[in-house]
Structures are given as C-alpha cells and as structure tokens.
Amino acid sequence: MNLKVRFALFFSIMGPGIVTAFADNDAGGIATYAAAGAKYGYSLIFTMLISTVLLAIAQEISARTGAVTGRGLSDLIRENYGVKWTFFAMSVLLIANLGTTASEFSGIATSFEIFGVSKYLSVPIMAFIIWWLVIKTDYGKLEKILLILCITFFSYVISGIIVHPPWPHILVESITPSFSGTPAFLMMAIGVIGTTITPWGQFYVQASVVDKGITAKDYRYTRWDVLIGTFFTGFIAFFIIVATAATLYVNHIPIETAKDVALALKPLAGNYASFLFGFGLLGASMLAAFVLPLSTSYAVCEAFGFEHGISKSYKEAPAFFSLYTVLIVFGAVIVLWPNLSLYNIMLTTQVVNGILLPPILIFMVLIASKKSIMGEYVNSGLFNVIAWAFTFILVLLTLLLLLSTLFPEYITHSLGFLSL
C-alpha cells in the first residue's frame, strides 16, 4: 500500500477517537480544569498529564476490544460475567451518566446565561430540541457542526501563550508530582482524572468503533485516531489550566460560577472573552448532551436484550425510548432545581465519575486480557501491569477521598508525614 492509500484509509476510519476526545472536554471538563488552575495554580498539571497518558491507555483498550470483537462493552460484560455483574455495571453507568447529563445541561444553561437567557427558559427548550433532533433527524451531520463549535476551545491555547506564563516553572511542575492530603485537593485530583477518563467515554468509543464496522484488520488506523484524539484532550486541558492559573490563580480570583472561567480568555479576546467562552461551552455541552443519553440507552438495552435503535418506533422499543427520555428529563430537572449552583453540579459529577470509573475499568482490562476473546490482540503483560496499576491508583485515591472526608485531620497529617 502506498502512502496515499494509507491516508485515505485513515480518514475513512478516523472519527470515534476524535469525537470522544472533544466530547471529553465537555462542560464538566472545562469547569474542573479551570477550577484546578484557579485554585491550585500549576500544581495539578502533573495529575493532568498522568491522566492523559492513562486516557490514551483506556481508550486504546476500548477501541481495540471493539475492533477485535465487533461488540459493545456492555454486550461483552453480559456474555462473560452474567446478569448480576451486568446489572452492577449498568447501574454504575446509569448513575455516572445521569450525573454527567446534568452537568452537560448546566453547561448549556451557563452558556445561555452568558448570552442573557434564563436557565428556566434555555434548559427545557434545549432538552426538548436535543430529544427531538436525535429521534427525528440524522445525528451524524449535527455532530460535525457541534465539533466546529468546539474548535473555539483552541482559544485557550492562544490565551495561554499570550499571557506569557512562567514556562520553566510550568515545566518543572509538570514533571514533579505534588500531593496534599486535604479532602479538597484529593477531590480535585479525582475530579481531574474523572473528567478526563469517563465511564461513558469508554462505552462510547467502543460502540462507535463497532458502529463504523471497523475490524481487527483496520485497527492500526483506529489506534492513531484514538491517540490523536487523546493528545487534543490533554493539549486543550493543559492550556486551560495554564491560562486560568496565569490569570486567576496569580491574581487570587476565586471561581464561583462557570462564567468566571471566561476571565482567563480576557488577554486574547478582551471584552468578547465571555462570548467566545459561551460558544465553546455550548458546543461542547451540546455535543456531549447529544451523545450521552443516547449511548447510555444503547448500552443498557444491548446488555439486557431489550429492543433498541432510533429507527424503531416507541411501540417496538419502549425500554429504549423511555430510558432515553428519562435521562434527558432527569438531567434537565436536576439543573433546574432552585438554589443549586450550576458550577457545583459540574464539579461534583466529575468526582462521581472518577469514583465510579474503577469498576468499569476493571471489566475492560479483564476482557482485554482474555485470550479467548481477544485472540492475538490480547493485552500484553507489560500493558496489563500498567492498566492494573492505574486502576489500583484510582481506587486508592477514591478510598483516600472517602477517608479524608471522614477523618480530615488524620489523613492530612499522615500524608504530610509521608512526603517528608
């Protein structure tokens, strides 16, 4: 095969990894990265870089499993671990995704508030539009428009460069692990990991690889797709942290609402900063709000053998459509609850995602290391060690968070002791 053919093949196959990557930097993602930068300066960049590497590993496993087996993750869990484990995994996915859907709607609400529209107006209308568009139209075309909106996030990259941050200092921070045992810091760290690597992202990337009909033969191109997507997730996240750290952290401006995050774009866009931010946030939140309820319903119905598919009628696939509708309605209602901070919804759901991630990861790694399922594409020994270590670290962090919330003094003290 010559180079041209290879490129043509790559472009026909790319998509799943890149779409997932951009949907990963959704409302919750931006809120979390910005909060990390504004509150802890550059010190969480290290966590972010690690979680990007881990994202690459996790997405690679999912995409590979999808290409080799031609099955979705929930399907594989059901066939290999039976009903009870599937029920458990699907409950985890449902809780995590309901939260994430709510966080996407907070993103939508916030971006409309920037344009001066009340959330009590924007959220119900957008929820209905999303619900209706997915059922009645061709979602593929919409996806491309939303991806273009997401490009506005590259403005953080430009902004991050023109504020002239102390690069040598950032470089040192990026490679030195810093750690503190306070519940707030742990929560932030789990949040950063939880927003980068999401349970739904793993299900989604695998499902779309399967959906594109990619087989084991073409897998090497998909690997590039996944790696390039992961790079962009990390790249943008890195600059959001840098931009917010250089503007907000340095000037001790705390973030109280997501709108404050737009301040980091001031050096680039001046007074238009909040508009730029608003468009980007809207694109990312919509992209994820489209993808999430739909892919959740697919995964759950696939696992339990309920009829599913948007081409079916409500009568043919009642469970599918009910679940889809319930997810959107609940997501919207949570956001509309009076006196609830939108920004806190975004942050909290990322932490919940981080806590719920390990069970899903364990299933993924277990399946990808089964020779009977993966054949010659089975996880290598070294790869497995990394994957397990990573899962273990995440479980440990979650436990630490739990303990530090219950006994804050004790954990802070003992961790302080460790770092000495």
Binding site: V5, G70, D75, E79, K84, F304, G309
Partner: protein, 432 residues
C-alpha cells in the same frame, strides 16, 4: 408405562450453583454447567460439570433426583468413572446463556436470559430436555433473584425449535438442521438481522446460509450496508457472492470500494462474470450504462417459437426480467423484440423473426438517468434495451432500476415490520 411423564420443570438459573450430593450424602461439588447433546428431536442433558478446573463430567444417569435445593446421585461418587466432554456435546450454559440468538419466529436478534428445562421419564429412561429459552424481562429478574417483583408478567419463551444460536458448533447434523430452519426466513428478514449484527456474528450466519439465500439477503440491503458486508467478508466468499449477484448490483458495490480491493475481488471471480461487471463499472455514475444489467434474454432470430420457449427455460433463472425477449443476430445486433405473451400464444412453428416487432425503443449507454426515465415512462415499458453505436445489445434497464432512483429512501424498519406481520398470520409459515 409407555407414556411421557413430567417429573419436574426447572430453569437453568434455579439449578446453577446448587450443591450435588452422592448416595452417602457427601457433597461433591456444585452444578456449574450441563453438557447437552442435540442429535435427535430435542436437545437433552448428558452430563454435569461439577467443579472448577475439572474437565470431566458426571454422567446424567447418575442423578437420582433433580431438586431446586440440589442434586442427589444414585451411586457413590467415583472420579474415575466420570467422563470427558464428547465432540457432539456442548455446554448449554456457556453456549446459550446471556448470548444473542436468532428468534426464527419473530425473525430478530434476542438475548437469552434463562433456559427452561423439563425432567421427563419415558419407558424407564429419564431425560432432562431443553424446552425453550427465556428472552423476557421476567427471566432477567429471576436471574437477579427478584422474580417476585414481576410475578404477574408472563414469561417470554422461544421454543428451541425456533432458535438459531449465533455461535456455530461443529456437528454437521446440527448444521443441516439449522440450514433447514433458516430457509424459512424471508431474505428481507435476513437482511435486517445482518444489519443488527456485528461482523463476527455476520460471518457465522453467512456460513449457515446457502449461497442463494446470502445473495438474496444482500440484494435487500442498502448499498452502504452491502459495501460494509463485502468488505468484512473474506475475499473468496465475497467474490463468490458477487458472482452470484446481478452484475449491475455487483458493479455498484465494487465501484464503492478502493481500486485495489475491487481489482482483487474481480480477479477472484470467474472471468465471464468479472468481465460483465467490469463492463458495467466503466460507465459514469449518472449514465444509462450504470443502471443497466447484462442479464437479459437474447434469442437468435432463426429460432421457432417452440425452440424459443425451451431456450427461455434454460435462460430464465439468470435473467432479471423475462417479459421482454430480445431477438439478435450472430453479432448480437438487436433485430427485434417480443413479449412473453406474444411468444406463448404464437403457434409453435412460427419463427421469431415473423413474431418480433422491428420498431424498437432503445437507448445509448451514455444517456443520462432523466432520459431513461422519460423513455420508459413515455412508452410504458417494463424494460428498455441499451445498445452501442453498432446496435449491439449491451444490456437492459428495468423499470424497477429507474423507480429506485426517483423514490425517496424507504423507511426500512416499517416496511420490514409489515412484512413480518404479514408473514406471521399463518404462524411460522412462509409466503413469498
């Protein structure tokens, strides 16, 4: 003593992981899975896997009683007398439970939630027979241990004569039986099944179909799905199927593939078929040439009506339409046309050249689609011949090829479900 007696009815989930005691009351293990043989009419259990890491089985004959709280053996347990899994046996739980199968009655993919078994006795022999698979929500709740929540809902069973597991086993007997069952499915249903399957399941189902059925099913699919199927098949199978397809459809599919891939497939096809397809592929997308098929009926002008009918019998299975017969000379130059009706009512000795119409509506392969539609519409034709500058016939365009161009895309699902509904009125029957 000759009649069938039902000693008990169970679900697989009720027996799974239940303890097994021998005659002395010693606990030997638990029921992990059951080996099943499906040679005669009903699939029946032949052995029990009783411990992890032990590959040998407890023979079915040792079991004295099947109860929901456990199994009791009629002998003392002796590991020496257990036996390994035979080639014609399968582990029923591993093979069916939680897996997707084709429900041949409803013609769709479903997931097996539980298995329904009956413990029977007949002429001193006892059997544990697989009766049906449970695909309902109640089965799902039973597996979760909360069946009581749904005790008012009926179970949703599919009798095991109506299931087609997707993972094939090696038993040849089983395969012929499955082929027999699959023959009842309408090609449109098979097409729909294909579209909901992943590529491995597709390969398995494809192996179980005979090649005509595979071709028919493929013909029912949209071009995009056809292309995906062909790409996912191994090359030799793909080229076999392309050979069997009408050349115009094969050409459509191949022109969607990369040049390398389509050349590779063409080189694997029989040279005659490949030649036809190549010829069709050379025409631009919006020309008459791209619409036509080379499978028309051309008869030499010196035949008599009787000879022509005999010739027609030979050619008809391959041809796209037989209502128009084209009369040609040795150089394939189009001399005339006659309809099937005219041929049948003519007296047997009349030569074709006296029967045929000499004023023929024909079209060049470089005309555009609009023009083709115009002509077919204007003259009220079922098909129009495509000829080159020397009046040699290249192929024909039928009215359905043109219709397809101008109809908005059909919502597939609805058409299919009405098909299924129609087919199911006489239960399990098959009407074309």
């Amino acid at each position: 003593m000759n009649e069938l007696k039902v000693l008990g009815e169970f679900y697989f989930s009720q027996l799974a992981n239940k303890p097994i005691w021998d005659a002395k009351g010693k606990r030997i293990g638990k029921l992990l899975d059951m080996a099943m043989r499906w040679d005669s009419v009903s699939p029946h259990v032949t052995g029990i896997r009783y411990a992890k890491g032990v590959s040998s089985l407890i023979p079915f004959e040792w079991v004295a009683s099947w109860k929901k709280d456990g199994l009791r053996l009629n002998t003392n347990f002796d590991p020496q007398k257990t036996y390994p899994l035979h080639d014609d046996e399968t582990f029923i739980g591993k093979w069916l439970l939680d897996k997707q199968i084709i429900d041949l009655e409803g013609s769709k993919l479903v997931r097996v939630n539980d298995l329904s078994l009956s413990w029977l006795s007949h002429e001193d022999h006892q059997y544990l027979v697989l009766v049906a698979v449970d695909i309902g929500v109640r089965g799902l709740f039973r597996r979760l241990g909360v069946e009581f929540l749904l005790s008012r809902i009926n179970n949703n069973f599919v009798g095991c004569q109506y299931i087609k597991p997707l993972e094939n086993r090696t038993s040849a007997l089983q395969l012929t039986r499955e082929k027999e069952q699959l023959r009842q499915l309408h090609p449109a249903d098979i097409a729909d099944l294909f579209e909901t399957m992943d590529y491995k399941q597709r390969a398995n189902l494809l192996d179980a179909l005979d090649s005509q059925q595979a071709v028919d099913a493929l013909a029912e699919m949209e071009l995009e799905a056809q292309v995906e199927m062909i790409i996912q098949m191994d090359e030799s199978r793909a080229s076999d199927i392309l050979e069997e397809m009408p050349p115009d459809e094969a050409a459509d599919i191949l022109s969607e593939l990369s040049v390398e891939k389509s050349e590779e497939l063409l080189s694997l096809m029989e040279s005659d078929d490949a030649e036809d397809v190549r010829e069709l592929m050379q025409y631009e997308e919006d020309t008459a040439g791209s619409l036509m098929t080379t499978e028309y009926i051309g008869l030499p002008f010196w035949l008599t009506a009787e000879q022509a009918i005999n010739e027609l019998r030979r050619l008809a299975p391959e041809a796209e339409t037989i209502y128009y017969l084209y009369v040609v000379d040795e150089q394939e130059t189009l001399e005339g046309v006659l309809s099937l009706r005219e041929l049948i009512i003519a007296s047997p000795e009349t030569p074709l050249k006296d029967l045929m119409h000499k004023k023929i509506v024909k079209i060049s392969p470089y005309e555009d689609h609009e023009k083709v539609a115009d002509i077919i519409h204007k003259y009220g034709l079922l098909a129009v011949p495509v000829v080159n500058d020397q009046d040699q016939v290249l192929g024909i365009i039928t009215v359905d090829d043109v219709l397809e161009l101008f109809m908005p895309e059909r919502p597939r699902g609805e058409i299919l479900s009405s098909l299924v509904a129609r087919r199911h009125q006489p239960k399990g029957g098959h009407n074309e």
